[in-house]
């Protein structure tokens, strides 16, 4: 008998074996889906792990360090340790101070290095090896968008930290991604009227812009709103992220005819470019019969600290400031200050709030299943977190709340009193239709 004949013959016993194997094969996927793994990294045992992916080196390392402090404080409060921080003021609140859904909250950390590829690798490691059920962090929109996209593919919720580009909840928005921080559209809408009031309608602006998604977005929004006022844009020059020495970009400003320099930089880049612009005597110049002005659209206290005296009198916008006098802000500053000896930055605030919001949504949904959590977060309205009444808009997962226009404090009352709130711009003034920024959320994988 040849080999061919051997395999072509089917015995009764063989048929039965094959049938059983085929039935098991068909049934297996359903079995796995119905049981353990309806979602990735479902908590087993008494703990649930969150992944904190922050820049611990690179241009945004200061923000990253403060974010990590805030995350650790949030974990303490969620587990019922410390003074409870914003859990004392948040409304409505489902959290009980016994972890999340009765499980103790643990965490794992990663260094994004302010680079998208490093951030994705770090998030992937936290999901695949450390069992993180939620990823949060990032101090760069490029990083946030990259990690948000990875989380969408993995079916893990991403609670964005400090990311300000419109794209995060615009053209690159994702079903699994949520942003509490404001965006460049809101900065433009809130800051431009103040700039008009302070500097007038007849101005020539020169933009120096960090050459990545956030910089482009920021430049676009400021140009849009200032040009509507009647300002002229003299030039918009792109600078590499982390350039360090900006002198070669600043010298052309001196004789460009511009009377306003808009620094679309953040973190160390902003500290360096502002310091160098001041060293080049820009703030002492009179151009077109007007005093030369510098504007930093996105401000933070950490940057103000780095830039020292140079920040005084300079306008910008911010998501939150430690000097606010609402109950939520006071509770958070007290708690953070007691823990670390200095007040939190806006990066710390947004990261802390995001952690609590995620945990609260799990309690509301009664599950860690991302689809349930997403449903709980979409359209969630809350208060007492330092920004007044706030809503997570279901259409784009962007939080809508009041925006602060600030100015470098000329007469600080303490070492931390670096930004003076000029105006609390109401939510209505900065709100826009979700369709304006494009993008598709996609769907949940359940």
């Amino acid at each position: 008998m040849s080999d061919d004949n051997k395999y072509s013959t089917l015995s009764r016993r063989g048929f039965l074996k094959a049938s059983v194997a085929a039935a098991a094969g068909v049934a297996a996927p359903t079995f796995f889906m119905n049981n353990a793994h309806a979602y990735i990294n479902a908590p087993k045992g008494g703990t649930v792990t969150l992944g904190f992916n922050v820049p611990q080196s690179g241009a945004y390392a200061d923000e990253g360090a403060d974010e990590l402090r805030a995350y650790k404080l949030a974990i303490k409060h969620l587990n019922g340790e410390g003074d409870g921080g914003l859990m004392n003021t948040m409304k409505p609140l489902s959290l009980k101070g016994n972890g999340v859904l009765g499980k103790k909250v643990a965490y794992t950390t990663g260094d994004t290095q302010t680079k998208s590829d490093a951030a994705r690798a770090s998030a992937k490691r936290m999901i695949e090896k450390d069992g993180a059920i939620m990823i949060t962090g990032g101090s760069s929109s490029g990083v946030a968008i990259a990690v948000q996209s990875l989380c969408q593919e993995a079916g893990v919720i991403f609670m964005a930290g400090l990311t300000h580009s419109n794209d995060t909840t615009g053209k690159d928005k994702r079903k699994y991604g949520f942003r509490h921080f404001f965006n460049t559209e809101m900065t433009g809408a809130s800051l431009a009227p103040v700039l008009e009031k302070e500097f007038g309608k007849d101005r020539n602006a020169y933009h120096l812009t960090a050459d990545y998604t956030w910089g482009w977005s920021q430049e676009g929004s400021i140009k849009k709103y200032t040009e509507q006022l009647g300002w002229n844009t003299t030039a918009a020059v792109r600078t590499p992220l982390g350039a360090g020495d900006f002198s070669q970009y600043i010298t052309p400003v001196l004789n460009s005819g511009a009377d306003v320099l808009v620094l679309n930089h953040y973190g160390k880049d902003m500290v360096n470019s502002l310091t160098q612009a001041v060293q080049f005597g820009l703030r002492d110049k009179m151009v077109n019969g007007k005093q030369f002005q510098i504007v930093v659209p996105l401000f933070s206290r950490l940057m103000a600290q780095g830039a020292g005296e140079n920040i005084k009198g300079i306008f910008g916008s911010t998501n939150w400031n430690w000097a606010l006098q609402d109950e939520g802000s006071k509770a958070f500053v007290k708690s953070f200050g007691a823990e670390y000896g200095f007040p939190p930055s806006q990066a710390a605030h947004t990261c802390y709030v995001q952690t609590l919001l995620y945990a609260n949504a799990c309690e509301m949904a009664g599950t860690f299943n991302p689809c349930g959590v997403i449903e709980a977060l979409e359209g969630f309205k809350f208060d007492g977190m330092g920004n007044g009444a706030t809503e997570y808009r279901a259409d784009d997962h962007q939080c809508f709340k009041d925006v602060l226009v600030v100015r470098g404090n000329e007469k600080p009352s303490s070492q931390f009193d670096l930004l003076e709130v000029v105006q609390e711009v109401p939510r209505a003034q900065v709100e826009y239709p979700a369709s304006m920024l494009g993008g598709e959320l996609g769907s949940c994988k359940a």
Binding site: G244, P252, G337, A338
Partner: protein
């Protein structure tokens, strides 16, 4: 006209940094024949001498900040200020100039230790081996600095008296449109003095004459009974001092972090290759040339037609020069 003057000044101050690092790199290659990828790390170590001096001068006592009422906050008051008041403040203010004097012996020792401890074992090895070992050394040094000082850039400001800008335009009769930061001008003058000093040392001293002879024909100098190895070791130390001083003086321009050396290393190698491997005048001229080209490439009028040219101009020029002059501007066959 004002814009052109400003870009030239900017190019000169950038070029000064490139030239100083490239000078040290060329000294080592020209004398020892070693391709030293740890040279950027030496620049970084120089910068961290300034950081260390600043840290030592600002060792502080923690004092409760009474202006913060709702949590315990503390201010750091340097002991020098507590003990000596304004004099203490002035000493702290001059941390960078003080660091220049500290850096000379420190960098010389580091250079000698590096050469005696590691580099000399690789003189007769392939360039690939030299690159690997010096690159490895650079990474080790970087990580040591990162472990001790953290990953963040550390502000190291210039003295208050030179923190502002000089009105160069008025001095040159161009009106008041040309202002330039004092410290950058000082950096340029400092670089010229150091470069001049190194050239004079090599040209007008017996030691320098022997070194130059050794660079041309090492064997012949040895046959004359001169211990050229010993002199080359000192040259390595000298190169470390030049690069270290470049690092110290650069700290007020750019707050240093552990990676600052790597950022400059690639550019400096391009400078050395463009100038001609082993040619000291070539390295210096190429440093200034590429600095000025980079500065001009950042002008709006150029960027309008060639967007992003400021990012690649140095490499583009290097490719073109090497195509037409494979041994660089002043290199010899």
């Amino acid at each position: 006209m004002d814009a052109l003057v400003l870009q030239v000044l900017n190019g000169l101050d950038k070029g000064a940094a490139y030239a100083l690092i490239a000078l040290g790199l060329t000294l080592v290659f020209g004398t020892l024949g070693v391709v030293n990828f740890a040279h950027g790390a030496i620049f970084m170590l120089g910068a961290f001498v300034a950081v260390s001096v600043q840290k030592i001068l600002t060792i502080s006592e923690k004092v409760k900040d009474e202006s913060i009422t709702f949590f315990d906050a503390y201010k750091e008051v340097p002991y020098l200020e507590i003990w000596w008041g304004d004099t203490g403040t002035a000493i702290i203010d001059y941390a960078v100039p003080i660091s220049v004097f500290v850096a000379i012996p420190v960098m010389l020792l580091i250079g000698l230790a590096m050469e005696r401890g590691l580099i000399r074992h690789f003189y007769k090895r392939e360039h690939a081996d030299q690159i690997l070992v010096t690159f490895g050394l650079a990474i080790v040094l970087q990580e040591i600095i990162k472990a001790n000082f953290g990953a963040n850039p550390i502000p190291t400001p210039a003295p208050e008296i030179v923190a502002g800008s000089a009105n160069i335009g008025l001095l040159l009769g161009l009106g008041d449109g040309v202002v330039y930061p004092w410290w950058r001008l000082i950096y340029f003058v400092f670089a010229v003095v150091i470069i001049g000093g190194v050239f004079s040392f090599l040209k007008y001293t017996t030691f320098g004459m022997v070194v130059r002879a050794g660079m041309h024909n090492r064997e012949m100098v040895g046959l004359l009974g001169i211990n050229i190895e010993k002199r080359f070791t000192i040259v390595f130390g000298l190169a470390a001092v030049v690069s270290g001083l470049a690092g110290v003086m650069y700290t007020p321009i750019l707050p240093p972090d552990y990676h600052i050396g790597m950022d400059f290393l690639v550019l400096s190698f391009v400078v050395v290759v463009v100038g001609g491997m082993g040619s000291l005048p070539g390295a210096v001229s190429a440093g200034f040339l590429l600095g000025i080209l980079q500065s001009f490439a950042s002008m709006n009028v150029i960027n309008q037609y060639l967007p992003g040219i400021d990012q690649i101009i140095i490499y583009l020029v290097a490719v073109i020069i090497l195509l037409f002059r494979p041994h660089g501007l002043m290199g010899k066959d």
